[in-house]
Amino acid sequence: MSPVTRRTFLADSAKASALLALGGGSMGSLLSACGNSTSGTSESSTLAVEVDEGQNANPFKWFASDMQSAVGVSPKIIGLPFVGQYEKIVSEMITRSNVYDVLIFPPFFVGDFVAKGFLHKMTDFGNEADFKLDDVLPVYRDPYLKRNGNLYAATYDGDQLQLAYRKDLFQKAGLTSPPKTWDDFIAYSKELHRPPNQYGNAFYGQRGFCYGWFINVFAANGGQWFTADMKPGISSDVGVKALETLLTLKQYAPPNILQIGYPELNDAYLKQNTAMVIQWNDLALKAEDSTKSKTVGMNGYAPSPVRNYMPYSRVMAISAYSSNPHNSYKMIQYMNRSEIAIKYVYDPNCGEDPYRTSLLNDVNAVKDHSGKPSMSPDAAASYVAANKAGIAIGYPELSIPGAPRYIDILDLKVNEALSGSSSPSQALKACADEWNSITTSLGKDQQVKAYGDWVDSFHKVGIQY
């Protein structure tokens, strides 16, 4: 046996370390595969699900164990903030990170995500028929899920703005029906305004989504996002009038209106401080839940006057960099099933709303995920009817390449006007200039085509635009 010198000791140690590293790695992979993989595939059964944190992750948590037994996968939730979700997803996807398997995001990201190749086609792993698209409400179907004829996503949430109003206060003021026009809305707000204990109305005034409440009025005035050759529609007289309407409504709103975002707007209504609000439609479920609301049984629901803007919503898609795309498909298909969806879209503890025709057919289906009715039969009938009526006059959210940027600039300028830093016409003119720059930077011809395709997709499903 040769003597052990320092040199041979170091060389042997290095060899042993290398062997351990290789062997250990393989062993680790083997163990990991045994513990996690679905039989027949090498994919992990625990999938990273990106979703805006909070109540919108709840359905995945509620059904985790059932999902495991039914399709052999379970979620690991990765929560992102509601505002700022876009930049966080893009920052990961740009680096081709496989940190997410299933992505949940609003469809106005779809244009950018498809253009940049961030999403798998759903049909790479199964059939369109798996998602029973015929049962998905047309407005949430092709325009939200498809690009160039390919299916990239499945629906998770069917958002729309909706009016919630206090029937008792309306009665007291002699108002017999919800406002049908924006002039009515202003008049009602004025009539019901009794500060500091009761405000006529409230809306989302915080930076992030205040543009949505502007578009809601803009749509009612007959406005369009762009002309066919991509000239911005917002700086027209119709746009200026809409922003002036919002400024008028600000006079009959809580004084901290610029601090009011989604939870604050819920609070403003649920704590009996506000006679009527336009909010995402999950507010109704919370308003009828005595653990969340002081207004149970006092509420009426109706679509927004004239047109009903449908901002946000959520879709589920497979990250192009996921290591587990087949299993991701199984998870998405499971959560999209109508028999599962009906258990979460009427639960007041999440923010998901009905997106299938079958979910709006039976008011008795308005139950939480444990099967307990979430509303009284009257309230359920009013809520479901408002959802149906809202969809019939739905106004689409912009979803073309660059949409997050167009929308962010619009939101900034609407917020500037609301804060009094600029007049409505100055704000919208500045916004239109920025929109033109964005269009130029993204290529005008491509944008004209993308916008035209997007408008066509709405026309095809019978949405007036």
């Binding site: 930049e87 253009a115 610029l258 940027r405 900034l412 830093s421 500045a430 930077s441 993204l442």
Partner: protein, 304 residues
């Protein structure tokens, strides 16, 4: 032993010197200079991660665009107002508290420890607690105004009030740091000079103006530079409390750079903006250092 000492080194003096400085140089180049040079190159490119166009060299176009970008000038104005406000308030109040602390030897350790707390809190925690305090309906500040029968305030809800609200948060978070710097400076001043001044009949005010402040000027300059850099980089409390709003009333240079870089993914333009910020801070720091290098004034009181 003698043979060992006589043996010529295997490496020449110059080569040995190069070898010894090499690790530090490689680290400096790799960690500091290379990223900076890469970023400088990026600032001359049109490079948007969301664009299908290939990145291309566009010379000074990004810098030129800055001069016509209204939001850039707005954010520069917001940053300047914020920096001047926080520096002035924190410097004056920090100095006053430090002088008071100097006169309370029994409580110095306890007070210094308590004072440190705001500065060691995570900015997100600070923002969260101030969000609660500023809340219109349930916030303590409005509760206090209500008790005093004063009108309730929107705090961060108005374009006029939001920036002062952020100054207040920064004041709360960073004044203690200023106090500790000043206090350390005061403690290091030569005591015989002050004793001599008192023997010479100088009043407390004269000692402060003609001795303490001139002798403290280097500490003040360092404190001002550190806080100036902090104020120019202000981002976290803006992101958490106002998101730059209402409108653009609290959109600082750092926040606007973030928006361009991480919301619109316009890397070239946002990097150009970051370099302009770097140049501005460097110029201001140089001016303050110039002030620091001035000779200290003559001592106060009677002279022989």
């Amino acid at each position: 032993m003698a043979a060992f000492l006589k043996r010529k080194p295997r490496l020449g003096g110059r080569r040995f010197a190069l070898l010894t400085v090499a690790p530090a140089t490689i680290l400096l180049v790799g960690i500091s200079i290379f990223p900076l040079a890469w970023a400088l190159r990026l600032s001359f490119m049109q490079d948007n991660l969301l664009s299908i166009a290939t990145p291309r060299f566009i010379g000074f176009a990004n810098y030129g665009h800055l001069f016509h970008d209204r939001l850039f000038w707005t954010s520069l104005g917001v940053t300047a107002v914020f920096a001047i406000s926080v520096l002035t308030v924190q410097l004056v109040i920090g100095l006053v508290i430090a002088l008071a602390l100097d006169r309370l030897p029994r409580y110095q350790q306890v007070l210094a420890t308590i004072l440190l707390i705001p500065s060691i809190l995570s900015p997100s925690v600070v923002s969260f607690q101030w969000k609660q305090l500023f809340d219109y309906n349930n916030g303590v500040l409005n509760w206090a105004l209500g008790v005093l029968h004063l009108p309730l305030q929107g705090w961060t809800a108005s374009a006029r009030g939001a920036l002062p609200a952020l100054v207040l948060v920064d004041f709360w978070e960073w004044t203690p740091f200023m106090v500790l710097l000043m206090f350390a400076g005061i403690k290091s001043l030569p005591r015989p000079v002050f004793e001599a001044a008192r023997v010479d009949g100088s009043s407390g005010w004269q000692v402060l103006i003609f001795q303490t402040l001139p002798l403290l000027n280097r500490v003040i300059a360092i404190a001002v530079i550190l806080r100036l850099i902090g104020a120019f980089k202000i981002f976290d409390i803006i992101y958490s409390l106002t998101a730059g709003g209402p409108g653009t009333s609290t959109e600082s240079l750092a926040f606007y750079t973030y928006v361009q870089g991480f919301r619109y993914f316009d890397l070239g333009y946002s990097t150009a903006m970051a370099f302009i910020t770097l140049i501005l801070i460097t110029i201001l720091a140089r001016l303050i250092l110039g002030f620091m290098e001035r000779p200290v004034g003559r001592p106060a009181g009677r002279t022989a």
